[in-house]
């Protein structure tokens, strides 16, 4: 059964069309990455699937429930979001920050329950954040901070996680750490991931499926290996892209003349 079902989605703001004719199904427990040049509509798609934007037409459903018929709280129980530039509140401890994830469970008027605290502690340990629990989150390095952001999203205990450029601004090692953590969640906990990535090599290596967007339309949707080798990919980026095989892994590079 598909965890995310996007059907005939269009998003328009004023007279400009940001997304049009988008239909995507993401299998439960799989990883789908959306790629495409700047302005393709990736962020709009992510925001719509996270419930932050209303579709102008078409629907987005999570586990069969149409997202925009749900209120904020029930939506937050089904899908969690990591934004492209998470706002880090100054002075907040890592533990308090990760604990925000339980808001949809206890509501904004009541304190977290024992179950909430347990869920937070469990994710903190899984992501090796225990030693940072009392640190001001602003004092963490970029890589550690992004791990805390990911922990907050995972402790929301949703079956679907949506991420917009989750590895922007991280060094290569931390990029791999974040992606490997996510992969482990997909394989071991059956998490469904819908992400956007700019790095085509990493996108191809970590996703089960790639969706290529350009100018608000869906260009290609298929297994990662096929999409990175496609002619359409070069056309969308308006440059020639080559795929090199390095020990069985696809590496996407621009061809220079």
């Amino acid at each position: 059964m598909s965890a995310v079902t996007i059907r005939d989605l269009a998003v328009r703001v004023g007279s400009s069309t940001l997304l049009q004719d988008i239909s995507i199904e993401v299998e439960s427990g799989s990883w789908c990455t959306v790629i495409g040049p700047n302005g393709a509509g990736k962020t709009t798609l992510v925001e719509t699937v996270a419930g932050l934007r209303r579709p102008s037409s078409g629907t987005v459903a999570i586990d069969g429930d149409v997202l925009h018929a749900l209120n904020e709280r029930s939506r937050a129980l089904r899908v969690a979001l990591v934004t492209q530039h998470p706002i880090i509140p100054p002075g907040m401890s890592v533990l308090d920050y990760v604990s925000l994830s339980r808001t949809p469970y206890h509501g904004s008027l009541r304190a977290p329950s024992a179950a909430d605290r347990f869920a937070v502690a469990e994710v903190m340990t899984r992501l090796a954040l225990d030693e940072y629990a009392d640190r001001d989150i602003l004092t963490l390095s970029g890589g550690e901070r992004q791990r805390a952001v990911l922990a907050r999203a995972l402790a929301q205990s949703t079956r679907v996680l949506v991420l917009d450029e989750p590895i922007t601004g991280l060094d290569l090692r931390h990029q791999m750490t974040i992606l490997e953590l996510l992969q482990k969640e997909v394989r071991e906990s059956g998490l469904t991931v819908l992400a956007t990535l700019h790095d085509l090599t990493l996108a191809g290596q970590f996703a089960d499926r790639l969706v290529l967007l350009n100018k608000g339309r869906l260009v290609l949707d298929g297994p990662s290996g096929d999409v990175v080798r496609s002619r359409e990919l070069s056309e969308c980026y308006e440059m020639e892209l080559r795929v090199i095989d390095v020990d069985g892994a696809d590496v996407v590079v621009p061809a220079r003349h």
């Binding site: 419930g51 706002i87 904004s108 008027l109």
Partner: protein, 333 residues
């Protein structure tokens, strides 16, 4: 920390009752208070009792209410707008109240000159200003809080210009009265203004304090707090409405007391950290104590004349803030 603020509050209450131009011994005032709960008996003369219960006590209570309300409203605004410069007058409450009060004092149209109209029109003016600001700046699908702040600035400028015009056209006598009103004072406090203001303050302070947890969630920004299941726009509306209504009620009773709303939450933040679950309740107590202390100074330093309360709040608040700021920086370093 909570204990320290409660001690400060207790100290402020004692100061408010004991200190004054009519010298009554502290122990005798306390003895009088205790006599009401059945401990000992009062030694105050009827006149002294009148001074304590009809002059000092209502002034004390109004000061507590005003300090609590302005401080918690300032802290709430800073949270909801995620802007450290926000104060309770941000959305035009002060300008609206000022215009309303000026209309009453200058007696535009006639028949308004009885003092009773001043608080009424100040209250109405304050609320009208916030409603205009909200209508202009709060609409649109993804209206940002920045638009609301800018709308507040525009509305405040417009109303202030109208107020200044009226003030400038008025007689020297009403000019002086408008000026005194604008500076804010607890001097005219009586039990009637306390009972008028009390329900607003109790309800609005309670709403703001309860909203602390929601404001903590909102510190990660609108998109993320919505993805955490918070109905951001509804929370924002309720919290802004409560802060503005409470502030309007206070302003209509005591005029424009500046600085409490911005300085108290910041002092509290330096002492207890950045969580609004702690900042807001402690600001309530600390704001109440702070304003009563400031008022005690305002009415005694140059007795029998009084210093404007806003002058004292700024004169004490600013150095206290700077001292705590530098102490904390030293502690962190």
């Amino acid at each position: 920390m909570a204990i320290a603020t409660i001690i400060a509050l207790f100290g402020a209450v004692v100061c408010g009752l004991v200190v004054g131009p009519t010298s009554i011994g502290a122990t005798r005032v306390i003895g009088d208070v205790l006599s009401y709960v059945g401990i000992g008996h009062s030694t105050l003369s009827p006149l002294q009792s009148l001074v304590v219960w009809q002059i000092r006590a209502p002034r004390l209570v109004l000061g507590l209410l005003a300090g609590a309300m302005l401080a918690v409203a300032g802290g709430t605004y800073q949270g909801v707008f995620r802007n450290p410069l926000a104060d309770p007058y941000l959305l035009g409450v002060a300008a609206g109240a000022g215009l309303g009060a000026t209309i009453a004092i200058v007696d535009v149209g006639g028949g308004l000159s009885t003092p009773n109209w001043t608080p009424v029109l100040a209250f109405v003016g304050a609320l009208v200003a916030v409603v205009i600001t909200w209508t202009i700046g709060g609409r649109g699908l993804r209206s940002s809080t920045a638009t609301l702040i800018l709308a507040g600035v525009a509305v405040a400028s417009l109303l202030t210009s109208a107020q200044t015009f009226l003030q400038q056209q008025s007689s020297p006598d009403s000019l002086a009265r408008v000026y005194i009103w604008l500076l804010g004072s607890l001097a005219s406090a009586g039990w009637s203004s306390v009972t008028l203001v009390l329900p607003y303050v109790v309800v609005c302070v309670a709403i703001c304090v309860v909203a602390g947890r929601a404001l903590d969630v909102m510190s990660v920004g609108e998109d993320e707090s919505r993805s955490l299941g918070l109905p951001v726009r509804r929370v924002r509306f309720i919290v802004i409405a409560a802060s503005s209504l409470g502030t309007a009620a206070i302003v209509s009773a005591v005029g424009l007391i500046g600085f409490v709303g911005i300085i108290v939450p910041h002092i509290v933040r330096l002492l207890v950290g950045t969580s609004y679950r702690r900042i807001l309740p402690i600001s309530v107590i600390f704001g109440a104590a702070f304003l009563v202390f400031a008022d005690t100074i305002a009415r005694t330093v140059m007795a029998p004349s009084e210093l404007p309360l806003g002058v004292v709040t700024a004169a004490i608040g600013a150095p206290v803030f700077v001292i705590i700021l530098s102490l904390r920086r030293r502690m962190v370093a």
